[in-house]
């Protein structure tokens, strides 16, 4: 074991040198005056994430942290920590226990709302200090390229021919995919056969293997499948069509006569009793973040949207989101 150490420390040192170089660079940048800030926390700030590295919320927060630091909007080192477990409950509880802490914020993602509902635990969204929701993702309904359905209506007609005849692949029970399936059932009256897989990757595998008929995809994952003719997209579940040339011809479900609106959204919340001055600090930082070119480029590249719900409205927004999720999960019989 000790010999392993010595070999590795050789590799280590190289990396640590790189790390040191990065840190010095950061320090040098840090010396320059940042934007005027009301009250900034001192020392490094942890952005707690409940997914393992590489999950969408994690990727978004890492990108956001990098831009915030690079553009000197926030000069404190921002560290994304992945506290996985209990479908985000471990991450949420970590932040909940940091009452009034200035150096911790929580990534807000759907499970913060849904896990308490599906497991019958006390709600979390009303205990955290809302900061802002600032990233939104649309969802697309895709079917097999050889599906006889030409549009969303055709698909619903097909589904109505035989109850539970259409197989839908998605992530675990209570996930976004499951909720979308529930919304389709509710809006159309058709009954679908939802098959939960171990995460989105496994669901996509089942779809590509032709084992299921329908799947719910974000635009960035749908694009390569559309390009290689492995999926046919029937509808986008947003209010308006997307504007990119790749997606502008995909009609919304709404314009096809089905009132199905659903999407994903991400943001930040602070621990309970967060200082209002700190909320303001974050609120300002996010306003500046979304105005940067780097952020806009990322949003475009990942086919997301970035509409800021500022701190002043975040609380009401959280309540609204909670009620929407509660209603859908109740219809699916998953609310405890």
């Amino acid at each position: 074991m000790h010999t392993t150490g010595s070999i590795s420390s050789r590799c280590n040192r190289r990396l640590m040198m790189m790390g040191a170089a990065v840190t010095t660079a950061a320090l040098m940048l840090g010396v320059q005056p940042g934007f005027a800030q009301g009250k900034a926390p001192t020392g490094p700030i942890e952005i707690t994430s409940g997914t393992s590295p590489g999950g969408t919320p994690d990727v978004l927060m890492r990108r956001a942290a990098k831009i915030l630091n690079d553009e000197k909007i926030i000069t404190n080192p921002l560290v994304v920590q992945n506290r996985t477990g209990g479908s985000w409950m471990v991450a949420a509880n970590w932040v909940l226990n940091k009452k009034g802490d200035a150096n911790t914020v929580l990534t807000v993602a759907q499970p913060i709302l849904t896990t308490p509902i599906t497991t019958g635990q006390p709600t979390l969204y009303d205990k955290l200090t809302p900061i802002s929701m600032f990233i939104q993702g649309d969802l697309l309904i895709a079917v097999q390229p050889n599906s006889p359905a030409k549009d969303f209506k055709g698909f619903i007609d097909l589904a109505k021919q035989r109850e539970r005849g259409i197989k839908v692949a998605g992530a675990q029970a209570g996930s976004t995919d499951h909720m979308v399936t529930g919304l389709i059932e509710k809006a159309s009256g058709a009954k679908l056969n939802y098959v939960p897989f171990d995460g989105g990757g496994a669901a996509a595998t089942a779809f590509l293997g032709g084992n299921v008929d329908m799947i719910v995809l974000p635009p960035s994952e749908a694009l390569p499948l559309i390009k290689s003719n492995k999926a046919k997209v029937l509808a986008v579940l947003s209010e308006k069509r997307r504007t990119e040339p790749e997606f502008k011809d995909i009609p919304t479900a709404k314009e096809q006569g089905y009132d199905i609106l659903w999407g994903q959204s991400w943001g930040l919340a602070g621990p309970p009793d967060m200082d209002p001055a700190l909320v303001k600090f974050w609120d300002d930082a996010i306003q500046k973040l979304v105005a940067t070119d780097a952020w806009k480029a990322m949003v475009k590249e990942m086919f997301l949207r970035s509409e800021v719900v500022p701190a002043s409205q975040a609380k009401a927004h959280f309540v609204e989101l909670h009620n929407q999720h509660l209603a859908v999960l109740k219809d699916l019989g998953l609310a405890k």
Partner: protein
């Protein structure tokens, strides 16, 4: 064919730049280290290092991360063999036999055969990757829930034959493993099972705390029983390397393990751990001396280690060709691509040809580096066992605990690891086999979810298991694996009775 070779040539041109070579070297070294440290597996290590790949070019970053992935397969062997703590999940079978070999003074042989097996299987897998990626990717897609269910069943039924003790105890311990795996949220319906109101248990009990506890911590506790100065394990110089006899014994095991591991690695639902388990079990069936399995079978180690490395490489095929992750590590590689602004998917091979071929070429280079690192060093690592165990034991315990903490950043996992350490110690005392517990924990959720998914896909009809050609073949294998031991028991029984009868006759005629 020619196209592939031309592309591969281009790939080498990309991978052989000094900067890329450096990062491949760094990646495989890190992989070796992370694999060797208990707790953190290659996927967790890659994930933790994702942020530092931000600033480097995509191809370089991916080459380094992939280096960690297969480097981990080489590194995991070390801790498994030397201290019986699985360094990462896929070397769990090595912990069973490799450590027995080390106790017999054959650590050097176990380490060298693992390095050679991993290398041959790895390079073989990359060659397959070069020439037949598209058809293999299509083949990978023909595996779905029914096949996974039968595959997991095949693994579970084999647990009865693991270990030398009573099959009842082995199956009972597999049942114990299944119980551990039941804890958590039901993957299909989302209801909590056996969580006793604990939030930490909602995600279930991960395989790592169980494996580190039951194998590693239990082993250290048992070793502390001897209060006199323990004799360091003797490693004779001539045992450091493989003998010609060893090689003859292991080369077919490497071939079988490598091919099987590669095929299982291809399947997006299985991964290197399942590959290593099934390769080990298969090897036992084919081996000329199955009784050695569990007591230090060199060919068992060779098969399992070859399988996990070729599976790690095989998992890249569905990832590169279709953008679907075949293992936890490839999921992180996909995430790294996304972080770099590259969209994985069926178009990756065309749109990012340089990156893909550079990566493939880098894997040839990385595997050579790992072989060069591991083969001469195997005796050196084995010599670590000359350090008195009293000095190693506390270090093993501390590194195991810290490793368990690092996987989830919570002391709860550390507690679980300790709990299973105590359980493992008591199991050793009660003469209960420990490997079936760990195997069942790995295979249980795959088995349960895929059974339920299969029936949902078929709308409740069992015919799904016979209508699909691949699952029909697997079903035959499952039936055979259940019937063969019964038949051999039956024939043995008859033979015994006959011999007894003959004896009686001979007594009667006397």
């Amino acid at each position: 064919m020619i196209d592939s070779l031309v592309s591969l040539g281009q790939g080498f041109a990309i991978a052989l730049t000094p900067m890329n070579l450096l990062f491949i070297f760094v990646g495989v070294c890190l992989g070796q280290l992370i694999g060797a440290l208990p707790g953190l597996g290659p996927s967790a290590g890659m994930a933790l290092l994702l942020p530092i790949t931000f600033g480097i070019p995509p191809a370089t970053a991916i080459m380094m991360l992939a280096g960690i992935m297969y480097g981990g397969m080489y590194g995991g062997t070390l801790t498994s063999v030397l201290v019986n703590v699985p360094g990462e999940a896929a070397s769990v079978m090595t912990a069973v036999d490799g450590h027995r070999l080390a106790k017999q003074g054959r650590a050097g042989a176990a380490l060298s055969v693992s390095a050679i097996g991993s290398f041959l299987a790895g390079v073989g897998a990359v060659i397959a990757l070069v020439f037949v990626t598209p058809p293999l990717a299509e083949f990978a897609l023909s595996f779905s829930s029914p096949e996974y269910f039968l595959l997991a069943t095949l693994g579970i039924t084999a647990t009865a034959s693991i270990g030398s003790g009573s099959p009842i105890k082995a199956i009972l311990m597999a049942v114990f493993g299944l119980m551990i795996a039941l804890v958590g949220t039901d993957p299909i319906l989302g209801s909590a099972r056996l969580t006793f109101g604990s939030t930490e248990l909602l995600d279930g009990i991960d395989f790592l705390p169980v494996a580190i506890g039951i194998f590693g911590i239990a082993e250290v506790l048992a070793s502390l029983e001897q209060s006199y100065d323990s004799e360091p394990i003797k490693t004779r110089l001539k045992d450091m390397w493989l003998s010609g006899k060893d090689w003859a014994e292991c080369r077919i095991a490497i071939l079988r393990g490598g091919v099987l591991g590669f095929l299982i690695g291809l399947m997006p639902g299985a991964g290197p751990t399942v590959a290593a388990i099934l390769a080990y079990v298969t090897e036992k069936r084919f081996s000329r001396h199955p009784e050695r399995f569990g007591n230090g079978a060199l060919d068992g180690v060779a098969a399992a280690e070859s399988a996990n490395n070729s599976a790690a490489h095989g998992a890249l095929i569905p990832m590169l060709a279709l953008g679907i992750p075949g293992s936890a590590s490839t999921a992180v590689l996909l995430a790294a691509l996304v972080l770099q602004g590259i969209r994985p998917g069926p178009t990756l091979l065309v749109e990012q040809a340089d990156l893909v071929w550079g990566l493939i070429a880098s894997m040839f280079i990385g595997n050579v580096i790992l072989l060069v690192l591991n083969l001469p060093l195997a005796p050196l690592f084995a010599a670590l066992l000359r350090i008195p165990y009293e000095y190693l034991a506390p270090g093993i315990l501390v590194i195991s605990l810290v490793g368990a903490y690092a996987t989830t950043l919570s002391l709860f996992s550390v507690g679980l690891t300790l709990f299973f350490g105590m359980v493992g110690y008591l199991m050793m005392k009660a003469d209960l086999p420990r490997a079936p517990v760990v195997l069942a924990v790995v295979l249980a959720s795959l088995m349960e979810s895929s059974l339920r998914q299969s029936l949902m896909l078929s709308e409740g009809s069992l015919s799904i298991f016979v209508q699909r050609p691949l699952s029909a073949i697997l079903l035959l294998l499952v039936i055979a694996s259940l019937l063969l031991p019964l038949m051999s028991m039956f024939t043995r029984h008859r033979a015994r009775r006959r011999s007894r009868n003959e004896q009686q006759i001979s007594i009667a005629t006397k």
